[in-house]
């Protein structure tokens, strides 16, 4: 059972001063799948992510990751277990170059992060892998550009590269395509598809074509609760989903 | 014969003590040089001044540099006990001469005494003894202390307590307040409810002036209790204003309006001060101390650079000047001269801008200062 589902929640609930952002959510993410979380704005998707990665403390409920109860763990420790997220508002290290951004992630995994007495040239051994990762997301030409100077879409790509550098077992992507041009969207979609062979992916996305093409299974949230779950083809016919999320005119 | 002397006037030029020492002390030193008439006798005397900013390490750095680079022979003034003691060590190490006028700590002539040091104007022992004794004798036999919570305040309180008790008085209570407290009302209320006849202020500077001002506000002086400021300067009275300060008792060793000589000097002095202020006792001490130093140099005839020798000479000669009158320097470096108990005049009694004090008593130097038998100075054991 733990093998089949990498992540499970039971009765997950988050209340903000009387307002239930997430209410009694039971989510099961199958290992190796691309699982999409969709829902209207304010449905509680980001909050869910924050709960799963421990950036918020649940008001109630339980989170199981690889069969282990992680409800009470600290965010950094969850990340260390291989459950890594990206942010809805892009999160990079602005004054580090793209290469350094990725290297920071590689470094964490391979130790030596506390070594204050060694030269940072020991980090050069990560350059190769970092460049590979940058290449994967189409950023090789930006390797030496400080992240702050990169266009928005590229920053998103960089964030994904950084996340991949951790070699996580499961990635949580919060609107990875937001603000990207079509070109990049296609690139990143292809990338996600490719990496999903290795990782489990839970993502939030409003771009329906991406959701439709990529995801194995979709959970629809509204008002903090699960409205429906299934494949895109089924859901797109579901009247409740149409009304709450897709909109009337949706074909 | 080497007749070149360099004087370093080291003071607080911009902080809390700038008014009682500061530029006025430098001026006093200049006047001492002029009045000594040594220049006419072939001596070449220079003065440099420095600002220790009330920081011991800046003070020592300046002192050290003065000796090493500027070849200073004598350092004068140095208010602020912490700085004064720090500088004391440097001067001893460099074998200079130290004529301290501004610092209150009696350690300079006790535990930390040095063969290079003369402590001129006043110290905590003297302050405690004269004021305490005089007030108890005048009937103020119950005391409450408002004490600044650091070594200086503690020493003042301890010494005064001893004097009060020795004279048959009683200490009914006290409260320690932190340094630089802007508001004393809490403490004053406690003093008030103690019903002590005398409220002894074992603090200094802004703390003292604020206590006095606020005591008036809370009707403490009107209620019959008397304030005894253990350390107070002329400039403080100016700041408080006579209206508030009237009736206050305290001790100084110099006041500009004592006699013709002091008045004459003060007039000359005030004319050169930016705000027309007469000298404080600290500034007067700088002047008098240097005049005595020059006398010693003249007696030596030259070669003023061996500090111990010069100080020995100073100690061997009785002191006498226009400002402090007759006195002597004891082997521990303590200058002995008269101390005066003053009371602050009522506004109606004051006739001139700086006419503040009424003399109520004189304590001869040998009763005012630490008797040699009580001194902890190692120099005395030889």
């Amino acid at each position: 059972m733990a093998d089949e589902f990498i992540l499970e929640t039971e009765g997950l609930t988050k209340e903000f001063a009387g307002f239930f952002a997430v209410r009694d959510v039971a989510l099961k993410v199958r290992r190796g799948s691309i699982h999409a979380l969709i829902g209207p704005n304010g449905a509680g998707k980001t909050t869910c992510f924050n709960l799963l990665t421990k950036f918020l403390r649940p008001s109630a409920g339980k989170i199981l990751y690889k069969g282990q109860d992680i409800t009470a763990m600290a965010p950094a420790d969850v990340a260390r277990m291989g459950l890594v997220r990206s942010f809805q508002i892009s999160a990079v290290f602005p004054h580090l170059t793209a290469l350094e951004n990725v290297r920071v992630a590689l470094q964490r995994q391979h130790g030596s992060s506390f070594d204050f007495w060694r030269s940072k040239s020991v980090l050069n051994r990560f350059n190769h892998r970092a460049l590979e990762l940058l290449n994967d997301v189409g950023l090789s030409e930006f390797a030496n550009t400080p992240a702050v100077e990169m266009p928005y879409g590229r920053k998103r790509a960089l964030e994904i590269a950084t996340t991949l550098a951790l070699d996580p077992e499961m990635m949580l992507l919060d609107e990875p395509m937001a603000g990207m041009g079509h070109e990049d969207i296609d690139k990143i979609a292809a990338l996600i598809k490719r990496i999903s062979a290795k990782y489990t992916i839970l993502m939030v996305e409003h771009n329906l074509s991406v959701v439709a093409n990529l995801s194995d299974i979709i959970t629809v949230l509204t008002r903090g609760q699960v409205l429906a779950q299934g494949h895109y083809s089924d859901l797109s016919k579901d009247e409740r989903v149409k009304e709450a999320y897709l909109g009337a005119g949706h074909a | 014969q080497d007749k070149a002397v360099k004087i370093g006037a080291l003071s607080d030029q911009s902080g809390l003590y700038a008014d009682l020492g500061g530029p006025g002390s430098t001026l006093a030193a200049q006047m001492a040089v002029e009045d000594s008439g040594l220049a006419a006798k072939g001596w070449k005397i220079d003065i440099i001044s420095g600002d220790h900013q009330n920081k011991p390490d800046i003070g020592t750095a300046i002192a050290r540099q003065w000796f090493d680079v500027d070849k200073v022979d004598v350092i004068v003034d140095v208010p602020n006990s912490g700085v004064a003691l720090a500088v004391n060590n440097v001067i001893k190490e460099k074998n200079g001469v130290y004529i301290n006028s501004g610092a209150a700590t009696s350690d300079l002539t006790n535990a930390q005494c040095s063969p290079n040091t003369v402590h001129w104007t006043y110290d905590t022992y003297m302050l405690a003894h004269t004021t305490g004794q005089a007030l108890v004798k005048a009937g103020g036999d119950t005391w409450f202390f408002l004490t600044a919570d650091y070594a200086f305040g503690a020493a003042l309180e301890r010494d005064t307590t001893a004097v009060v008790q020795a004279n048959g008085g009683k200490v009914v209570g006290g409260v320690k307040h932190p340094l630089n407290t802007p508001d004393f009302s809490s403490f004053l209320l406690q003093a008030q409810s103690s019903k002590a006849k005398i409220i002894g202020l074992a603090n200094a500077g802004g703390d003292t002036t604020n206590t006095i001002k606020q005591a008036a506000e809370f009707g403490i002086t009107k209620g019959g209790q008397k304030l005894a400021a253990l350390l107070l300067f002329l400039t403080d009275i100016k700041a408080i204003g006579l209206e508030t300060a009237q009736g206050l008792n305290f001790t100084e060793t110099f006041y500009w309006d004592m006699n013709d000589q002091t008045r004459a000097f003060s007039k000359r002095f005030a004319a050169k001060m930016k705000n027309g202020a007469p000298p404080t006792m600290v500034q007067a001490g700088v002047y008098a101390g240097l005049r005595h130093y020059f006398k010693a140099l003249e007696a030596l005839g030259g070669n003023p650079h061996d500090g111990v020798k010069v100080v020995e000479k100073m100690k061997s000669m009785p002191t006498e000047d226009d400002l402090f009158g007759k006195g002597e320097i004891q082997p521990n470096g303590r200058t002995i001269h008269n101390a005066y108990l003053f009371e602050v005049k009522k506004p109606s009694e004051s006739k001139a801008p700086w006419d503040f004090y009424k003399l109520v008593g004189t304590v001869p130097g040998d009763q005012a200062f630490t008797p040699l038998s009580e001194s902890k100075c190692a120099l005395l054991k030889k």
């Binding site: 350094e100 940072k120 | 390490d57 650091y150």
Partner: protein, 322 residues
């Protein structure tokens, strides 16, 4: 792709080479001081403050943590060294060790309390802690309150070097400073330094990458505090006293000023800044009452026109990191 690898290296390598050249130059210039007629005590004092400012800079410039209480490490180490030397009569090397150890312990405790606070609150909690310590030292008997510990014996380092000889003392202080400086330089350019920088840039992201950022910040705080303590211990030998000045908040403020005047987050900036400020205090001392006005004016001018600090401006002009 391999071409790119080769491209990336020279950038850092060049920066490091520049920095090393400047370092050697500075070290040689400092070593020559006793032969130039420059007053060595002034330079020694400045070196102690320079080390303090460098330690402070490690925290703010590379960790993004503005400590407003760094004087507490300087002062604590100073008091402990002074006490060890004077009362326990320990030899200089153990005296220094005592001071550094005290700063180390203090930095663990204060770091543990303060490190979890963000931005301005971090600054304020460090300020509060140092003020607490100030009042404790004001009253603790062993510090001798406002008189301070005076007349500290300098002794013989390792039983050989007579520290009461100014030249010997000078070189000892210089070696101490250079060692501290190189250590800081290494920390900045270490794997740990990289993580520190990324935490400064975006802490949330660093957490999500699995870094327990509090631990890194704490380590940075401890390193910085301990090195500041080392500066305090060295200073005891120079000034031969330990006083409340060194734990007062205005000293913490002065360190900030030094670092800023020299250039925040630059390697040599704090050193230059320390020299500028100390020189200013020394040479302005003869201007008496105007000293604070002049000082104030200099700060205003610095902030308005020289914001990168002396070194920062130079580095910016030559487009180099220094």
């Amino acid at each position: 792709m391999t071409a790119l690898t080769d491209d990336t290296l020279p950038v850092t390598a060049r920066a490091m080479r520049d920095e090393m050249i400047v370092f050697v130059f500075v070290a040689l210039a400092l070593a020559a001081v006793p032969f130039t007629g420059i007053y060595p005590f002034f330079v020694m004092q400045a070196l102690c403050f320079a080390l303090l400012a460098c330690a402070f800079n490690l925290l703010i410039g590379y960790g993004g943590l503005l400590s407003f209480g760094h004087a507490m490490f300087l002062g604590t180490a100073g008091y402990c060294s002074a006490h060890a030397l004077k009362v326990w009569a320990l030899p200089p090397e153990l005296g220094i060790l005592a001071g550094v150890a005290a700063a180390f312990v203090l930095s663990i405790v204060t770091g543990y309390i303060s490190i979890r606070r963000q931005g301005i609150y971090f600054s304020m909690i460090t300020l509060a802690l140092s003020q607490l310590l100030y009042f404790i030292y004001l009253q603790a008997p062993f510090t001798h309150g406002e008189d301070g510990i005076q007349g500290i014996p300098q002794g013989h380092l390792f039983g050989i070097f007579d520290l009461s000889k100014p030249t010997v003392l000078y070189y000892v202080v210089l070696v101490g400073f250079l060692a501290g400086f190189l250590l800081i330089y290494r920390i900045i350019n270490s794997p740990f330094g990289e993580v520190l920088k990324s935490i400064r840039e975006n802490e949330q992201r660093a957490i999500s990458l699995g870094y327990r950022t509090d631990q890194y910040k704490l380590l940075a705080f401890i390193l910085s505090g301990t090195l500041a303590g080392f500066a305090g211990s060295l200073k005891v030998f120079v000034a031969q006293n330990a006083s409340l000045t060194d734990v007062h908040w205005s000293m913490s403020g002065e360190v900030v000023l030094m670092t800023l005047v020299g250039g925040l987050g630059t390697i040599f900036g704090p050193v230059v800044g320390a020299f500028v400020i100390i020189a200013m205090q020394q040479y302005l001392a003869s201007y008496g009452q105007w000293v604070t006005v002049i000082q104030g004016a200099i700060f205003v001018i610095c902030v308005l026109t020289f914001r990168r600090g002396v070194v920062g401006e130079i580095a910016h002009y030559f487009r180099r990191s220094l």
